[in-house]
């Protein structure tokens, strides 16, 4: 891997991590969770995002765990119910990343997995549009670009800086 640009290196390193966590969890898990996904859907998701079947199951069980109201979709409150997310300065931005592509205020499983697919590690020749380097950088860019104008303005950068420096005060 070429690690020239520092930010993409960070992005790469950081975002690979999740994959490793997923696989760790998978190995920890004993039995399969009850699967409410149909197989075709599973296959579709697999093809689209590149996750393996086990990983998708794992994600699904997590999704249902988060979905307290059992509606099959997550709302912002569900996300913010996670304590670490709520206190993290970036938590909100990331939650927004989930909601960016959905019209109403709910995220269904497909969208959930799509966003998380950004974090998969890049394997050679098996990149798809989510976890490619480009895709990761896009995701990272969107974290900064709050008003979605495809530019990072000074104010946005300032907000980030403020968050980083001021957060623990």
């Amino acid at each position: 891997m070429s690690l020239d640009s520092p930010i993409s290196y960070q992005a790469y390193i950081g975002q690979q991590y999740i994959q490793h966590l997923i696989s760790c969890e998978r190995s920890k898990m004993g039995s399969r969770p009850s699967l409410l996904l149909r197989d075709e859907e599973l296959a579709e998701i697999q093809k689209e995002t590149g996750f393996s079947a086990n990983q998708i199951e794992r994600l699904y069980s997590r999704f249902t765990a988060l979905d307290k109201s059992s509606t099959g979709a997550l709302s912002r409150e569900d996300f913010l119910r996670i304590p670490e997310l709520a206190i993290n300065p970036l938590g909100e931005r990331i939650v927004n990343a989930f909601f960016r592509h959905s019209d109403e205020d709910r995220v269904n499983f497909r969208q959930f997995v799509r966003v998380l697919a950004h974090f998969r590690p890049v394997k050679k020749h098996k990149e798809n549009r989510y976890n490619s380097r480009e895709g990761k950088l896009q995701f990272a860019f969107k974290l900064y670009d709050l008003d979605d104008d495809d530019r990072i303005s000074r104010d946005e950068l300032m907000a980030v800086l403020q968050m980083m420096v001021g957060e623990n005060i």
């Binding site: 520092p6 390193i13 950081g14 900064y144 000074r154 957060e167 623990n168």
Partner: protein, 853 residues
């Protein structure tokens, strides 16, 4: 002799890398060492049993295990020495190096264990003994670590109180670390681990507490001590080579060397495969090769082998000598052969090298951002992962530990602030360097007039400085100035303010160096005692000066117009030239009635010359002035409206000024430099530096810029023709002197008018240089920000668009433009360019700083 080396290693250990790779490191250190020990020991014993060694004695199992325990330990000294040379990438370095540090615990345990068994005799070793031995390992390792950490915290705590005894701070660090080592050794724990972790923990807290000088001292002393210790150790090795009686057994030596190498390679491969399952950054073949090849034995092994006593270990003299000889031989082999060849091998194999540079501000911020992001994603997944742990630890650290151990807790992001202060320091240095007349080094004379005269004298030879000392751009109009703050300026101010506020103290620490050259070594320079709170100082001074004013003692120059002072401003600003006691304490005194033209008198008690600008809303953010709004009106003062940090709710467009200041029609009036420029242009350079008039002059050259032009359009109400009121220009580069000129100097100044200046005189601006500015800006930014990619670009766009916006606006506002074109031929271009460049580079600095952000 070992502690200094280990302390050096621990203290300068890159924390992040170490803890990220801790799993791998531990794996290699513990499992790897165990594997090596047993495999080598058993093989040697096996060969001994098979009689291949031609030994005159029997090689019992325990002794060979003992020997292999000490010989399999990778030595931190040797590894450090070699790897420093070859500069491999950080991950590789940290894995090998970490392994060498941490395997000390294992080695020590094994060594003592086998020694005990050997003492007891091979027959009496029972299972319980073995278990005791195995159990002692965690105790030794964790005990050593814990002792080290405790001493590290103690050191941090002690340094919290050392602000009165700065000189001996380094001593504390060394002594405490050594005590940690001794303490651990006394309890038969791993001293090396203790001192390593002591160094690691200590660093985080001590760095924040000790003075800059102490920090430098510690750094150099540590390096020095560790280098000398290392040299001594190897010298000792060499001497004893010659000195001892040796028992050279070819086959034994060769067998040992072969086994060491082979088993290490095998061990590395197996363990890497295991580690790679859990690692993000996989260890490739080349990495593995370097790791196995870099497993040098050294002084630790030597020290241990010398400790084998004849009687206690039931080891005959021959055997002992053989061990010593072999150890020395192995050490020589690994150090010389492997150590020497590793460098060309590394180059040949194209191992990734380290990029030795400090992370830019951009990188730091993004790094932190991604830490948080990953922590979030982890929590989303319900995992307790790495980032999560790190985050939790940081939070805990910040809430509980840091407040106890650190004297003045500033912000929670010391690294970002550190980078910021470095950036600003660099900017400041650049500014200084750009002023080759060396005026900046001079002490400020007492009066502006003298300053000017000296300036002019110095000016002859340095035409390059013409624009910097462009006196025609001084603003003689001392009336209040409402500068029209551009949005960019506002956000600049905000950013600067945010960072500088965080950075309050370390900021000054870094800049002490500058202050040294400015004035005599002051007691204050020797301490990091921060003259602290500007606000309170300001308030105090204000109160004092008010009192003084009320009694009519203070000097007031110029009667400013008060029409701009809507019901009383917060305060007017005083700039003062040169400074004696404190870095910058302009006293802000207030209110209109005082400004109504009291006669000027002597100084204020502060020892500076105060120039009161009429009604200034020229408050330097650097001074952090608290503007008082004890005016009777309830509405927000103009000051409040304009000051960035007071402006939170009034974020909209900057306040528009009247289009043509009254004096603009006055052609006699020299172009002045808008406060925007002086005050905001160098926001990021705002330092507790000594303000000098010279600084002003430098700044004032930038009037050809959009920002300044904009300022020049402002309505300056020049009601009072008294040119004696020097205008206060907020020290953009930290200097707070007036940029105004006494009227007597007007005459002198006019002699310096160049066409460029002519055109600027009283004029609002010239449209021409703007494109240059934009270009310059863009170019400079581009150069400087190659690394920033998209962020830099967008910032550039932001700047360029602001510049364009400025241009357009100013074009509309120009009334002199037509009169000027002929004056703006090539000469102006030339003149302007450096000036422009000055500004743009100074602005670039601010842009760069912010972009780097």
């Amino acid at each position: 002799m070992l502690p200094p080396i280990i302390l050096d290693a621990g203290y300068f250990m890159p924390n992040r890398l170490f803890f990220n790779n801790l799993g791998t490191i531990l794996l290699f250190a513990v499992v790897g060492t165990l594997w090596n020990t047993f495999s080598i020991g058993l093989s040697l014993w096996g060969l001994g049993q098979a009689g291949l060694f031609n030994l005159s004695f029997q090689l019992p199992l325990l002794q060979s295990l003992l020997f292999s325990a000490l010989i399999s330990a990778v030595d931190p000294v040797a590894v450090l020495a070699v790897f420093e040379e070859i500069h491999v990438n950080e991950v590789l370095y940290i894995v090998v190096f970490g392994e060498s540090l941490l395997n000390d615990a294992v080695t020590v345990v094994l060594y003592h264990m086998f020694e005990e068994y050997a003492k007891m005799g091979a027959d009496q070793v029972e299972v319980t003994e073995i278990f005791k031995g195995i159990a002692s390992f965690p105790v030794v390792a964790l005990g050593g670590t814990l002792i080290g950490i405790i001493w590290g915290f103690l050191t941090g705590f002690i340094t919290r109180f050392t602000n009165h005894v700065r000189v001996i701070e380094p001593i504390f660090i060394f002594v405490m670390a050594y005590l940690a080592y001794l303490c651990a050794e006394t309890f038969h724990m791993s001293g090396i681990l203790a001192i390593t972790f002591c160094g690691i923990t200590m660093k985080n807290y001590v760095e924040a507490n000790i003075s800059h000088k102490s920090h430098t001292t510690v750094k150099y002393a540590m390096k020095m001590l560790s280098s000398s210790s290392e040299t001594i150790i190897f010298m000792f090795l060499g001497v004893s080579t010659i000195h001892d009686k040796h028992n050279w057994n070819w086959s034994f030596v060769i067998a040992t060397v072969v086994f060491c190498t082979v088993y290490r390679i095998i061990g590395t491969i197996v363990l890497s495969a295991l580690a790679n399952k859990f690692r993000l950054h996989k260890l490739g073949r080349v990495d593995q090769f370097v790791m196995s090849y870099g497993g040098l034995r050294g002084a630790v092994a030597f020290a241990l082998v010398l400790l084998i006593k004849l009687d206690s270990v039931d080891c005959q003299d021959d055997m002992r000598r053989m061990f010593v000889t072999t150890t020395i031989a192995v050490i020589y082999f690994t150090v010389f052969v492997q150590g020497i060849t590793i460098k060309p091998l590394v180059q040949w194999l194209k191992v990734k090298r380290a990029h030795k540079r400090k992370p830019t501000m951009n990188e730091r911020i993004h790094e932190r951002l991604f830490d948080h992001t990953m922590a979030v994603v982890e929590s989303l997944m319900g995992q307790v992962g790495h980032y999560h742990l790190r985050d939790k630890f940081k939070q805990f650290d910040n809430t509980y530990i840091r407040p106890c151990l650190i004297r003045d807790l500033k912000g929670a992001e010391p690294k970002i602030l550190e980078t910021f202060s470095k950036l600003t320091m660099r900017d400041a240095m650049d500014m200084m360097n750009r002023n080759p007349t060396g005026q900046s080094g001079k002490l400020h004379p007492d009066s502006v007039a003298a300053m000017l005269r000296s300036n002019m004298n110095g000016q002859g030879g340095s035409s390059g400085n013409l624009e910097q000392l462009d006196q025609s751009t001084w603003n003689i109009d001392l009336q209040e100035l409402e500068y029209n703050l551009s949005r960019k300026d506002l956000s600049d101010a905000k950013i600067h303010h945010l960072l500088a506020e965080e950075l309050y103290k370390p900021y000054r620490r870094q800049h002490r160096r500058l202050s040294y050259s400015r004035h005599a070594v002051h007691e204050k320079d020797l301490t990091t005692e921060q003259p602290v709170n500007y606000k309170t100082q300001m308030n105090f001074k204000r109160m004092v000066s008010e009192k003084a004013l009320k009694s009519g003692k203070t000097r007031r120059t110029g009667a400013p117009n008060t029409s701009k002072n809507d019901g009383g401003h917060g305060s007017s600003s005083n700039g003062y030239v040169a400074y004696g006691e404190e870095y910058d304490n302009p006293v802000f005194t207030m209110s209109d009635e005082r400004l109504q033209g009291k006669s000027s008198e002597s100084h204020d008690g502060d020892g500076g010359i105060y120039f009161i600008a009429g009604g200034g809303s020229r408050v330097s953010p650097a001074r952090r002035m608290t503007l008082r709004d004890d005016d009777d009106t309830g509405s927000p003062t103009k000051m409040e409206r304009e000051l960035p940090w007071k402006r939170e709710d009034l974020e909209e467009a900057s306040i528009r000024q009247n289009e043509f200041p009254a004096w603009s029609a006055n052609k006699e009036y020299l172009a002045y430099n808008s406060p925007t420029n002086t005050y905001l242009g160098g926001l990021d350079r705002n330092q507790p530096r000594m303000p000098t008039v010279i600084g002003l002059f430098k700044r004032d050259s930038i009037s050809s810029t959009p920002g300044s032009r904009r300022g020049s359009i402002q309505s300056i109400h020049y009601h009072n023709n008294r040119l004696e009121s020097p205008r206060h220009s907020i020290g953009s580069d930290g200097s707070g002197g007036p940029s105004g000129v006494a009227d007597t100097d007007n005459v002198i100044l006019s002699s310096h008018n160049t066409p460029q200046m002519m055109s600027r005189r009283g004029s609002t601006f010239v449209a021409l240089p703007i494109p240059e500015v934009a270009e310059e800006t863009e170019k400079d930014l581009l150069e400087a920000e190659k690394k920033d990619g998209g962020h830099g670009r967008s910032a550039i766009k932001a700047v360029a668009s602001t510049a364009e916006a400025n241009k357009i606006e100013e074009v509309e506002n120009s009334d002199d433009e037509n009169g000027n074109p002929t004056d703006i031929p090539a000469p102006q271009q030339d003149n302007n360019n450096p000036a422009v460049e000055n500004w743009s580079s100074s602005d670039n600095k601010s842009n760069q700083t912010h972009t780097k952000l």
